[in-house]
Amino acid sequence: MSEKPTVEEYLQNIQEGKFKAYKCVECGMVIAPPSGSCYGCGSSKMEWTEVSGKGKLVSFTVIHIAPDEFAEEAPYYIAIVELEEGTRVSARLLGYDPLKPEEVRLGIAVKMEYETIASGRKYLAFRPI
């Protein structure tokens, strides 16, 4: 966990179902998705950190018209989730009917998991606790 983190590894970790965030070596700010410099102190020294996987739903949408690559998955939720550690990520939202988005409440507690599609590809995802 001490090597310099890279974007490629960040994405690979998600594919392996082992999400890790960046952490600023100087000030300790947890950052995901990756940034080359800390939003808190500007340092570019980063290391990997584990996160609790708990967070809250900040906002979302349901994609009905998708590019070809995602067309078979539509409609699907995309959400912005704020992790307990303070950083926000974009991810899929599970556990709700995409045709009943009015049932989703912002601010609810969610827990990190992964959505695996037919091709075997994984998306970072969250589900209400």
């Binding site: 998705p33 949408t61 690559e69 974009s90 991810a91 899929r92």
Partner: protein
């Protein structure tokens, strides 16, 4: 200090819409001819060109577009540079033109934008437009452009109680204004009921909340004060210009109900012009989606945060309202050929300021603010314009 030397002496656009059989270079040349020959500005006077176009590589398989377009339009030889900032490409080209004139390097320059989009399929265009978002962290999980604004809409609805009907009213207004604009893609009014048709693109955004896929070009000529007299007695001056950036990723934003780059760019532009939002007679804002107009009307200071939807309901932003917004129909109903949009917005402001907008003329037209927005809001450009005799 207000900018003092930048004058718009001509400004024109092609029709926007599905321009069947018209290539990017042909529509570009048409806009240039309208802004030069037809406006009494000889092409030989143009010393440099700044051109906005977003994704010709993906949509028409053409890179290095600036010299190509310029050559076709009869301007070969002069410096030609392409500017790309997603949907704000046109306004970033304009800013380069402003700096070229203000620096004294040139007396007369061309600013133009063009995009050919309708020769591609909707999924192809959707995928190409997604290049304006962060490919590795957001587009790659299936977030689309309508999705970006869907997320902003949900945040705005939650925070301020904005409704789907409020957004639909923006579409109704846009179509009403465009119904008398012969250059618009949709010259037809729609009812509120029609605007509410539940054909979701990215919930809560429906078909009528979204700007269309369009072809089109726009061009204008900027000159120094001295040179402007050769072409017109009444130029429009650009007195303030601002540009700001924000994170590409939506998830890196603290507030999803406002776009910080719009707030920042507009404050810079107003300060430079020495004016306030209350001094602006009307606004041209980047209504790529209906919610984008509501948020922009707040971000540029026309209304307080959360009061943009009420302003639409109360008719304040109608053509005959106190604070008209997009009186010729906006991106929503006139069309959104991405690279042309930022230049076309200036064309609209120019015509309105001069009193040359026909049935779409606003009653007070001394000062205007123009807001052009790129991608997820990672770039925003705001310009403040004034008729020279004010």
């Amino acid at each position: 200090m207000p900018l003092n030397n930048t004058n718009i002496v001509s400004a024109a656009q092609t029709k926007f819409g599905v321009l069947q059989g018209v290539s990017q270079r042909e529509m570009f040349a048409e806009a240039v001819d309208k802004a030069t020959i037809d406006a009494g500005v000889p092409k030989k006077d143009i010393q440099a060109a700044f051109i906005g176009t977003f994704i010709p590589e993906m949509l028409v398989h053409q890179g290095h577009t600036a010299p190509l377009l310029l050559d076709f339009a009869g301007l070969k030889g002069i410096p030609a540079t392409r500017h790309e900032a997603a949907c704000a490409s046109g306004a970033t080209a304009l800013r380069a033109g402003i700096m070229a004139i203000e620096s004294g390097m040139y007396d007369t320059v061309l600013v133009a934008g063009a995009e050919k989009m309708t020769s591609s399929t909707t999924p192809e265009v959707t995928e190409a437009l997604a290049a304006a978002a962060d490919d590795q962290f957001e587009s790659s999980i299936g977030l689309t452009f309508p999705g970006v604004f869907g997320i902003a809409a949900v945040a705005h609805m939650q925070k301020y109680g904005t409704t789907e009907e409020d957004m639909a009213r923006v579409a109704v207004k846009a179509h009403k204004n465009a119904s008398t604009n012969p250059l618009a893609q949709f010259q037809k009014e729609i009812s509120l009921e029609k605007a509410m048709t539940p054909r979701y693109i990215a919930w809560p955004l429906k078909l009528f909340d979204c700007s269309p896929i369009s072809d089109g070009a726009a061009a204008l000529v900027l000159t120094s004060n001295e040179k402007a007299k050769e072409y017109t007695d009444l130029p429009v001056k650009i007195t303030g210009t601002g540009q700001a950036s924000a994170s590409m990723n939506l998830c890196d934003r603290d507030d999803l109900s406002s776009f910080s780059a719009s707030v920042d760019a507009s404050r810079i532009a107003y300060k430079m012009a020495g004016l306030q939002p209350k001094d602006m007679d009307f606004a041209i804002v980047h209504d790529c989606f209906t919610i984008a107009e509501i948020i922009a009307s707040e971000d540029i200071g026309f209304f307080k945060p959360g009061e943009g939807a009420k302003a639409v309901r109360d008719g304040l932003t109608a053509r005959d309202g106190d604070k008209p917004i997009n009186p010729m129909g906006g991106l929503k109903a006139v069309g959104h050929p991405v690279g042309a949009t930022g230049v076309k917005q200036i064309v609209v402001a120019y015509r309105e300021l001069l009193g040359d907008a026909g049935p779409n003329q606003v009653s007070k037209h001394d000062n205007a603010v123009v807001h052009n927005f790129g991608g997820t809001g990672a770039t925003c450009v705001v310009n403040v314009l004034r008729r020279a005799d004010v």
